[in-house]
């Protein structure tokens, strides 16, 4: 039981990082971003590539260069680079695809279909170049678990969990204390009011995409510890949706709470059902949340319309 809770917290922390971006993008633009799964996968794949091929080694003819450029960089550095790459992809997607769509008055539902198209496009571009084989990172691929208080955890996972906690606390502080974070929450809360009080809404949306993309990519590098797969994000998208809906679409802290609950509940559910089916619990959580409290734990009633 305690082992399951620990596993659940681990999953929940990673999920939370993925979910915050999704929730904030929804909050600021009203858009459910189905391509968020691909931002997660992007993180995993980028970390893999930097870890194996180094900074420029992805381009075959440069792979003969010495270590940091051609031969692969340390995983920790690769994670950092992947996170940056996630922010860049988030920015580019917003700038090239969604900002132009918003400016030419494409409706939200059409934009939602666009995110689906984008998601499929990116996913199959990934499998096109990455292949459908399962791979592993070069560093920290397999570690023996440490035992403490009857629970098992690898050093790698422990460090990743600590990093997640630090980052999530940082996000929390950032959202409540910094100017940018407050602007993000203000736009999420009431876009028109925020705009009329002098906040540059487009700038905030752009920041939210960068920030959400980077967090999703970071969570992706952590999700990829066991295996690196081309559809790793799609596999957990259901959990991310359950987390943001449970916590309340559009609220950053709701996403955090929802993710932790979903992570733990899913792992507890393996006491009753087969491990293979544990992700199904997320659907159950999603449906129960919609039936009992559609606005989510921290959401407001007017959002569900």
């Amino acid at each position: 039981m305690s082992q399951l809770t620990l596993e659940g917290l681990k999953l929940g922390l990673y999920l939370a990082m993925a979910a915050i971006g999704l929730s904030l993008i929804f909050g600021t633009t009203g858009l459910v971003n189905f391509a968020h799964a691909e931002l997660i996968t992007w993180g995993t794949l980028m970390a893999y590539f930097f870890n194996i091929y180094g900074l420029v080694g992805t381009f075959g003819f440069l792979s003969v260069l010495p270590a940091p450029f051609g031969g692969g960089v340390n995983f920790i550095f690769a994670t950092l680079l992947a996170t940056i790459a996630g922010g860049v992809l988030g920015y580019v997607l917003n700038r090239v695809v969604f900002r132009t769509a918003r400016n030419s008055g494409v409706s939200l539902l059409a934009q939602m279909v666009m995110t689906i198209g984008l998601s499929i496009l990116l996913r199959y571009v990934f499998v096109y170049f990455f292949g459908s084989r399962y791979r592993v990172y070069k560093d920290y691929a397999s570690q023996r678990a440490n035992t403490f208080w009857g629970m098992e955890l690898t050093t790698r996972d422990a460090i990743a969990m600590v990093i997640s906690v630090v980052i999530l606390v940082g996000v929390g502080v950032g959202l409540t204390r910094t100017r940018t974070g407050r602007a993000m929450r203000a736009v999420s809360d009431n876009r028109d009011l925020a705009e009329s009080s002098g906040i540059n809404v487009e700038k905030v949306i752009s920041q939210v995409w960068i920030f959400g993309g980077a967090l999703a990519a970071l969570s992706g590098t952590f999700f990829g510890f066991d295996t690196v797969k081309w559809d790793i994000g799609t596999r957990i998208l259901l959990l991310v949706f359950a987390a943001v809906t449970l916590g309340g679409l559009g609220t950053a802290f709701g996403a955090l709470v929802g993710a932790l609950i979903v992570g733990v509940v899913i792992n507890w559910s393996t006491l009753i059902i087969d491990t293979e089916l544990k992700n199904m619990t997320a659907l159950l959580v999603l449906i129960l949340a919609l039936l009992l409290r559609p606005q989510g734990i921290l959401g407001k009633k007017q959002r569900i319309g």
Partner: protein, 334 residues
């Protein structure tokens, strides 16, 4: 390059079994999205319900094939009910979240070890479609050439039944949408609050539309597995849902014949592109494989890249479809 072969394949794809199956599923989606404005992102779940409805009834319960077919529609209707209850009172995007999640969950459940005794797990269910092919007046294993088209006898039989069903169902949907009931659905699509203010119970109308479209999706799934003579969990991948969306948007949502037109265009295009790439001269092929990794596997993946790109561009620039009018366009408002 064998252009004759490529053209023969493309022509045959124009009205082939895939066109019928996907067009039927798109007719269902058209009822959901085109006429009622419901964002159903899990149409493949309804197809799976229909497919497993017949497969499991025959394979595991040992029922008569035709009873199984009847039950496949019941399963699709029940699924619609289950998905509709928590979501249809809420805003449009909640239905999309739940349907996409449910369709993926159905696939995972069907292929899991736990369900293996019932659904056959990863191997799926085979040998249940016999009674359907027993009725065929054509020799099942023989090739029949009709004009530019060329099909196996079993496919000719399938096509005759499939097209009859497809046209009947399309006509039925057309009549329904011209009835007061159908006009209410369209009113809900245009302005749900106004419709409610006129005393219509939007929730029940949306539920009925979801069930009707779901059942039509179930018919499509049943037809697909009868054509393949096997039920495989992994054919019900969520990306199929969005292939159907692409097909519907190509034809134009909210128009009677758009699913058939869209499906035909989509499959002709895909079969033409894939066969052309497969038939490239060896020299060109090797060059492409070295530079852009155009392997056989990647040619198969290209289809989904095109679906993604197509959906992205269509939703952005022509949400009313190639032939559609902006008046019948649910994506345009709200």
């Amino acid at each position: 390059m064998d252009w004759g072969f490529i053209l023969e394949r493309s022509f045959s794809a124009m009205i082939g079994p895939e066109v019928v199956v996907y067009a039927l599923a798109a007719v269902g989606l058209n009822v959901h999205f085109g006429y009622t404005g419901l964002m159903n992102f899990g149409q493949v779940g309804f197809m799976a319900a229909g497919a497993y409805g017949v497969g499991v009834s025959v394979y595991w319960l040992g029922w008569n094939f035709w009873v199984g077919i009847l039950f496949s529609f019941v399963y699709a209707a029940i699924l619609a009910l289950l998905l509709g209850i928590p979501t249809l009172r809420l805003r449009a995007d909640y239905l999309s979240l739940v349907t996409i999640a449910a369709s993926e969950t159905i696939r995972l459940l069907a292929r899991s070890r736990v369900m293996q005794p019932y659904t056959g797990g990863v191997e799926g269910v085979n040998q249940f479609a016999g009674p359907f092919y027993d009725l065929s007046p054509f020799e099942l294993g023989k090739f029949y050439s009709i004009g530019p088209f060329k099909y196996l006898g079993r496919d000719v039989w399938m096509l005759i039944v499939g097209w009859t069903l497809l046209i009947l169902i399309t006509l039925m949907v057309r009549q329904l949408m011209r009835s007061p009931w159908g006009r209410t659905l369209r009113a809900i699509r245009e302005d749900e609050d106004a419709t409610r203010a006129l005393g219509k119970n939007a929730y029940y109308y949306k539920m009925q539309a979801l069930m009707l479209g779901g059942i039509i999706g179930g018919v499509a799934g049943t037809l697909q597995v009868i054509q393949k003579a096997s039920v495989q969990a992994d054919t019900f991948n969520p990306v199929i849902t969005f292939t159907i969306w692409t097909i519907l948007i190509i034809g134009g949502p909210g128009r009677v014949w758009s699913p058939i037109v869209g499906s035909s265009i989509y499959w002709t295009l895909i079969v033409f592109i894939e066969n052309t790439l497969r038939q490239l001269p060896p020299g060109v092929r090797t060059t492409l494989e070295d530079t852009v990794q155009l392997s056989d596997f990647n040619i198969a993946m290209l289809r989904f890249i095109l679906v993604g790109l197509g959906l992205l561009l269509l939703a952005r620039y022509r949400p009313q479809g190639i032939f559609g009018s902006r008046e019948e366009m649910a994506l345009d408002r709200r």
